[in-house]
């Protein structure tokens, strides 16, 4: 089975080339995709954790309970 291809448009000559990816390029893309997915997941987790801390801080403020340092950090700009 042939490797995927990429297209390159030369803006000076106007020539368009269809180029088959090398095995090394495919491996690098798979690595890049995994790295990007890991970064996306980490950012999503961090955002969820921050939202949970904020919600907990708000609930404690309303009920008059002491906040943890982490919860207080979410309120200080």
């Amino acid at each position: 089975m042939a490797n995927p291809t990429r297209v390159e448009v030369n803006c000076t000559t106007g020539e368009t080339s269809i180029i088959e990816l090398t095995d090394a390029e495919i491996a690098q893309r798979e690595l890049d995709a995994a790295t990007a997915e890991a970064a996306r997941a980490a950012a999503e987790t961090a955002a969820e954790e921050l939202a949970a801390l904020k919600a907990s801080a708000k609930a404690k403020l309303i009920s008059g309970q002491p906040l943890t340092a982490e919860e207080a950090d979410t309120l200080v700009i």
């Binding site: 990429r6 297209v7 030369n10 803006c11 893309r29 990007a36 970064a39 996306r40």
Partner: protein
């Protein structure tokens, strides 16, 4: 204020799709660049690279999904270019513009995007992003790469050069 607007090159993706698209050997004779695209992909997000490199990028983005708004900060070039998922309504495409001012100058390169999905469902994103590449080299090539899979057939890309005089 730009008073010229010239099509430098364009491409329509052919049968089978492509893993990425590159506009190379971009002449330095314009002030700004604008890449207008209509794209459908296997993956939702694509990255943008300049001069064959994806290093030293950072970005911020804002989008609306139809039911919520989201913002984010990235220290890379991924999740910058919004695409159309192949699971969205058949024969629909995401439309977007990427604007790159002062691309041939000797300063770091800022750029922006606005794009919108088309989908016959509640979920359809509107996306705005601002990016920075901390590299002073003039931009001579631009590559759009989906995070996985291909850019699908009939996706179109138009690269314009804009002059301020």
């Amino acid at each position: 204020m730009a008073n010229t607007y010239t099509l430098i090159s364009s491409n329509t993706v052919g049968s089978g799709g492509v893993a990425d698209i590159t506009f190379s050997s971009i002449p330095a004779t314009y002030t700004d660049l604008k890449l207008s695209y209509s794209m459908r992909n296997t993956a939702f997000w694509s990255s943008i690279s300049f001069n064959g490199s994806s290093a030293n990028f950072s970005s911020r983005w804002l989008n609306g999904s139809g039911t919520a708004v989201n913002t984010g900060t990235r220290t890379d070039n991924t999740e910058f270019v919004l695409g159309e998922l192949s699971t969205y309504t058949a024969n629909t495409f995401t439309n977007g513009d990427i604007y790159i001012p002062n691309y041939a100058g000797a300063t770091n390169k800022s750029f922006s995007i606005d794009a919108v999905n088309e989908n016959n469902a509640t979920l359809a994103y509107q996306h705005f992003g601002a990016g920075l590449r901390s590299n002073t080299a003039a931009i001579t090539s631009i590559t759009i790469t989906p995070s996985s899979g291909n850019i699908l057939e009939y996706s179109t890309f138009y690269l314009y050069g804009i002059k301020n005089s």
